[in-house]
């Protein structure tokens, strides 16, 4: 066990010798483009919230390398049990932008039919399991899905995400324990962004690192520089391979930083120092990766400007469509409780429909 952090990207885009995962040029550019898009998505999301057009938003600012780098080694047939701070994964895997944006509005076109707060995606087309708010619950679910794949002798690999705060949850303990006992093909990604809303990682646990928690379960625990997309990729590629080969689970701690507030409801300046932010800004994962790419002549300012513009255009168009799509119709509220609505649900739907229209706007007078 060590508290050492694997870093590959050094100052000015240099790399540590012998550690480069040697990705193809296309792959490198894809990772970069995805990180840039994720940041744009986050920017627009928060803006829409500030404009009062959507009800809530939550950014992954500064954590783009951590989640894009870890997700990249996964095959299309592999599954994610995400937390709420991995917007780059849907972008990386080519999910439809309309589905994402409709979810923000809770409007028609949202695969989850307006049932959840913004950024709680469900994207079955890319094996991205419905996000839920309760912290940690996805961890043991991912372990279980991996147990199932193993029982069925399928070689699917599972990856699940959680924060430093998430390591304190019941499901962290249960999920890692079960995964290790059954040697399930799952990779646990702890994105240690140093904060759980206002609680610093140092008050979250008495352990020096999150990775060392893996010792409790007898599984490898690896610490990696979460703002270094190459290092994250490398470590996760190894973990995914290990899982696929039947060698069991791995926990990876990506050491990173939440550069924004927790969410649109939070104001980090109430509880943390500007200075800490400034320190981490020096390690911005997009800038570091860009320097590396530039050094390898894989990046130009024009290329980036172009991909940004293209993505912004797509996004704007999607937002326009989503905003216009309107809320799900009243009756849909009673669907999907069960495969078929119960008699009770049918009666309740009829009763609500008989009142007519939405109470949404002004509440009319009910004749007594």
């Amino acid at each position: 066990m060590t508290s050492e952090v694997l870093t590959i990207l050094e100052k000015d885009g240099k790399v540590q010798k012998g550690k480069d995962p040697n990705l193809s040029d296309d792959r490198l550019r894809l990772l970069f483009a995805t990180m840039v898009k994720a940041r744009i998505l986050d920017e627009r999301g928060l803006t829409l919230q500030r404009q009062g057009r959507i009800g809530f938003y939550l950014q992954a600012l500064g954590q783009e390398a951590s989640h894009v780098g870890s997700a990249a080694p996964m095959l299309d047939s592999d599954w994610f049990f995400p937390a709420y701070r991995q917007p780059g994964i849907p972008l990386l895997r080519g999910a439809e932008l309309d589905q994402i944006v409709c979810e923000w509005f809770g409007h028609q076109g949202d695969p989850s039919k307006g049932r959840q707060m913004p950024v709680h995606y469900s994207l079955r087309s890319i094996n991205f399991v419905s996000i839920s708010s309760p912290i940690g619950t996805q961890i043991s679910q991912a372990a279980g899905a991996a147990m199932a794949a193993k029982i069925r002798k399928e070689d699917t690999v599972f990856m699940t995400y959680f924060g430093d705060g998430g390591t304190s949850s019941n499901d962290f303990h249960a999920g890692l324990n079960f995964a290790a006992v059954y040697k399930a093909p799952v990779v646990f990604i702890c994105e240690n962004n140093q904060w759980a809303i206002s609680v610093p990682a140092s008050r979250q646990t008495g352990s020096e690192t999150m990775a060392q928690k893996a010792v409790a379960y007898g599984m490898p625990g690896i610490r990696v520089d979460g703002n270094d997309v190459l290092a994250v990729y490398r470590v996760c590629q190894e973990a995914v391979d290990r899982a696929r080969k039947g060698e069991g689970p791995t926990m990876v701690e990506t050491v990173t930083y939440r550069m924004g507030s927790h969410s649109s409801s939070d104001d980090a300046s109430r509880y943390r120092d500007e200075e800490e932010y400034e320190r981490w800004k020096q390690r911005d994962p997009i800038v570091r990766f860009q320097e590396y790419l530039a050094r390898r002549k894989l990046w130009t300012a024009e290329w980036q400007a172009e991909l940004e513009q293209e993505f912004k255009d797509q996004l704007n168009a999607a937002i326009k469509r989503a905003e216009a799509a309107g809320k799900p119709e009243l009756g849909s509220m009673f669907d999907d409780v069960y495969l078929k609505p119960s008699a009770q649900l049918l009666a309740q739907r009829t009763q609500l429909q008989s009142l007519g229209g939405a109470a949404d706007e002004e509440i009319g007078e009910f004749p007594l």
Partner: protein, 324 residues
């Protein structure tokens, strides 16, 4: 047909569905070699191997959390919780996750999972091996709640639950695991969910009961009959989604109702039945709707017999429906 205990029928149902569908896996604490602390899973590991029937670490949270993952991935997990009293470490996974997976994902992901657990008093299990907390689950949209009272129902309802596309809490009245026997169809046998059963026809007062209480109510009905009172006993079998009609039409006929349940009275499932009646068929009532239930205390050990509804208390309840 075979003569079986309720416990045997539960075992038979699992074996039948495991033969029938290789997505069905059974797991929980001590369900493997030991065959479960009550023996409900005896023989399953031998027949189906350790991949299909396996012991878990001591974590209900993990049992249900991993079970949900299996279900989402396409299995048909049947999780055993050793006693219903020990389900609470998994409560978050059940009410926040299993119950809401289909809804919150707009139907993209589903959770066809059965959570089996022995529940209720009557085995001198005391404080923590006797509780009846079905009402918690009944108040959780997205879950179905099923409680059998006979061996044939136990088998047929459990098979239906395993085949259901949604999560089902399958609660087994442990008090009658071995004491109640009956004919059970061999092989495939399905009793549809959300259909109640008239256990005994009668004209004077409807008694709604489920699980072990059905049998106590039958005793009460026999005694009442000797005194010229004709009780109709209705067993809903599926508590949620409820077969309202079978209860409402019985009450319309008798004009009276007693609901019997072991759980603490306040906010128990019997409150739902009483409320339903008060809302839907009050004009037919000829007396108060009476609840005969556990008391509003934790479950006691030494005085267990006094805590649980017995024939005396049921008859006294019936009497109250006649005297307002």
């Amino acid at each position: 047909m075979a003569n079986m205990t309720l416990l045997g029928a539960v075992n038979d149902a699992m074996a039948t569905e495991m033969r029938n569908d290789d997505r069905v896996v059974v797991f929980g604490e001590d369900v493997g070699k030991k065959g479960g602390v009550f023996g409900a899973t005896v023989g399953l590991q031998d027949e189906f191997g350790t991949d299909r029937c396996f012991d878990t670490p001591l974590s209900e949270c993990g049992i249900i959390g991993t079970g949900i993952g299996m279900a989402v991935y396409g299995m048909r997990p049947v999780a055993e919780i050793q006693f219903l009293d020990f389900i609470y470490p998994a409560f978050d996974q059940i009410v926040s996750e299993a119950a809401k997976m289909r809804y919150r994902s707009g139907g993209e992901y589903t959770c066809p999972m059965v959570i089996r657990s022995p529940y209720g008093g009557g085995i001198r299990g005391g404080h923590y091996h006797s509780q009846s907390s079905e009402a918690y689950f009944c108040h959780t949209p997205g879950l179905k709640v099923v409680i059998p009272s006979t061996p044939a129902d136990a088998k047929g309802l459990l098979i239906a639950s395993i085949r259901d596309e949604d999560p089902v809490m399958f609660l087994e009245p442990k008090r009658i695991y071995r004491t109640v026997k009956g004919e059970v169809p061999e092989g495939e046998h399905v009793v549809p969910l959300s259909k109640g059963r008239v256990v005994r026809e009668g004209t004077d007062c409807t008694v709604v009961a489920y699980g072990a209480m059905v049998h106590i109510c039958e005793q009460a009905a026999e005694q009442a009959a000797k005194q010229g009172r004709n009780l109709e006993i209705v067993d809903p079998r599926t508590l949620v989604p409820l077969d309202e009609d079978i209860i409402l039409s019985s009450v319309k006929k008798t004009g009276r109702c007693v609901v019997v349940y072991e759980a603490p009275k306040t906010c128990g499932y019997g409150a739902e039945i009483a409320a339903l009646i008060a809302e839907q068929v009050i004009e037919y009532l000829e007396g108060p709707v009476v609840r005969v239930a556990g008391f509003d205390t934790p479950f006691p050990y030494a005085l267990e017999n006094l805590y649980m509804p017995d024939v005396r208390r049921i008859l006294e309840g019936v009497q109250r429906t006649f005297t307002w």
